[in-house]
Symmetry: C2
Subunit: 405 residues, 2 copies
């Protein structure tokens, strides 16, 4: 590609695909005759009637995005995605005793404790209440992996996904049962074999907590808590209790097994527990390992999110962190939602590192790994949200940069 | 349910599920002992370790939303949905010669005609350009069915769906090839066996037309044009050419087979052709046939959309069209997008009809069938967007109202 051409294109306001090629002369001749393009296309789809409509569609056979999974979790293939919706069948999973099989016709949610009238709600009951729809991310509190160069975005940060959720505001149900004004906490209990339980401060119920039964337009998937789950926008994933069967209203936390044994962790000489909000973070999904780029214009793309509200800025560095510039954010930018960002970069072919850094509406700036370990000690653990880097080598190959704490 | 209870709940600000029942005494006793709820739940999911994570998830076995399909089209099950995303495998279809099987590695898009340099773009080329993500609806120009009471929302208006699309602005590509300032039209050609073609005015290219390759976060589905299609937000579905292989720039429309034989139709004593924008319309999806409702509070729900921009108001009538009141619109309300609306109604048990009427940012008001036929004659045909009604009978059964033109 010659420089003159690039300059013309840039002036025209268009930006350049690395490999745009002029059409072949023979092909051009075909076109001028106004003939079909048969000779040019080896297997001509215009000569074969295609498959007809169907009841439920399938992915193209050439596309096979998959979750990488272990016994307890599966990770969303962020590098395969564009935009902000995670297809429901590729939403990350983190289970404590697998996915229970729940008959929606037998489903009941009990709300009791410090209430005027303890009540049970069927799924049909929940669907009768005024409903709300919102887009938001979910993220596992333990979402972060490092240690080697051969890591994809799915490996590094695949324990986050985003859906459009529909359900009833928890505050609506809490008014229905008449929650005591003295109540300060509630227990949420799932009906999986772990009987997963967490204590949640009452403020979240009066703010934006929901009981949701629909995901990306349709009934929620089994792995996300079918038929109904708790949704705590912006808060750590495990608190968004799936297969929700019971809410008990109280005036103290319950100190359950999960919240004391698992999601409590050392931070220097102290123990941190009840760390609700997921801190602002970001990841570049293109280019990333194992992709290869070519010299010239590259649109750096990725997602940023914050459990505290709206992402106000994403900064990109293409010189290993020396200088930073603002990425474009795809509108609409929604609170507590994956926000797609893009940044146009002309790569000159020199080895370098590219990084992204998220800033949210509270002014919080995504920290470096050094800042995190200075503040917390080298223990790692939960809520690790450091700025991460991709190394671009001279040959265009892209590798994760496994920083040491 | 006694009136005193309803009144208390209303005062508390909660709104009422028709069938909320107080919990059973024996169950309450179990709870007070702090024991698991084993006796109450017949098959207790807490006693069985569930299935582990997987590479790709599946719907719950209790949920089976399907498209109803014929030889040439399939219809989205609008009555099964919540919110505004159509799951990609349930997006409506309208094919002219089935779904071609296209190898993305052989895919090429040719842009030629009144341009500085005719060019061919591979799929990788298209993905290199600056990208844009937007939510918008697609709708078949022929979307409307009436004639009997036993029709669901899927039957009446199932030829519309909504996705989050990602791709490159057509204007970016047109700058790249250097479209002549004298060009006023372009031809879009698909690589299905119909070699589907439409003429499109150049204004749409400079406005919001896109070439898209991703749908709801991942690669576009085969039925929607894999690996790349034209997206003309708000314009009739058939013009959004799928499996797009060629754009030819010109200064006149091409008068192709499809645009002259199919999407041209009589309107009184004239012939209407090139009717681009889908007019504002709406449909109540709950309650609808064959659902049954109970006396008391009902949240009427549905979708409204306009090919001309933002929906500014949806009006609901619960008295057969005599009086109208505003529904709530779920934010964010986006241009040329399905907009979810909700309206809280207390049904007293009398037979009635419920209707919805959409109004868009141009001030356009969704017409009655009589207004449409007065203006256009009784021919029916394309772009039929009348206000529709559901009949609620005294027993709570809900039926479509098949108005006669």
């Amino acid at each position: 590609m010659d420089d003159k051409k690039i300059s013309r294109r840039t002036l025209l306001g268009g930006v350049i695909a690395a490999a745009v090629v002029p059409m072949k002369a023979t092909f051009a001749k075909e076109i001028q005759k106004g003939l079909p393009l048969d000779e040019e296309i080896r297997e001509d789809p215009t000569k074969v009637i295609g498959l007809g409509p169907s009841a439920v569609g399938k992915r193209a056979t050439f596309e096979a995005p998959i979750r990488k999974f272990s016994e307890t979790s599966s990770r969303t293939p962020l590098q395969d995605f564009y935009g902000t919706i995670t297809p429901s069948d590729l939403h990350y999973e983190r289970h404590h005793a697998g996915v229970p099989n729940i008959d929606p016709n037998q489903y009941e949610l009990l709300i009791h404790g410090m209430v005027e009238s303890a009540m049970k709600f069927t799924l049909a009951d929940l669907k009768c209440f005024p409903s709300v729809t919102r887009l938001c991310f979910l993220e596992c509190a333990g979402n972060f992996r490092t240690g080697k160069e051969e890591l994809t975005p799915q490996d590094v940060l695949g324990l986050t996904s985003q859906s459009e959720w529909t359900g009833v505001m928890l505050s609506t149900l809490f008014r229905e049962v008449g929650v005591s004004p003295k109540a300060t906490w509630f227990l949420a209990e799932g009906s999986d074999a772990a009987v997963m339980t967490r204590s949640i401060p009452m403020e979240k119920a009066w703010d934006d907590a929901m009981i949701v039964y629909a995901q990306n337009g349709e009934a929620m998937r089994p792995e996300q808590g079918y038929p109904a789950r708790l949704l705590l926008p912006g808060w750590e994933g495990n608190m968004n209790i799936k297969w929700l069967r019971r809410l008990e209203i109280s005036d103290a936390p319950y100190m359950t097994r999960e919240e004391t044994s698992k999601y409590t962790y050392p931070v220097k000489d102290k123990i941190r527990m009840f760390s609700w909000e997921m801190d602002a973070r970001s990841i570049i999904t293109y280019p990333s390992y194992p992709q290869k780029v070519q010299r010239g214009w590259i649109e750096i793309r990725g997602i940023a999110w914050s459990g505290r509200g709206v992402i106000t800025r994403v900064e990109i560095s293409t010189d290993s962190g020396k200088t930073w510039a603002d990425a474009n954010l795809q509108s609409p930018v929604l609170s507590k939602a994956h926000t797609y960002f893009r940044y146009l970069w002309s790569w000159d072919g020199s080895p370098t590192e590219i990084l992204s850094r998220a800033i949210d509406e509270t002014g919080y700036i995504q920290p470096s790994l050094k800042q995190l370990t200075d503040a917390r000690g080298a223990g790692g653990g939960y809520h690790m949200n450091p700025v991460t880097a991709w190394q671009i080598k001279a040959d265009g190959t892209t590798w994760f940069k496994p920083e040491k704490a």
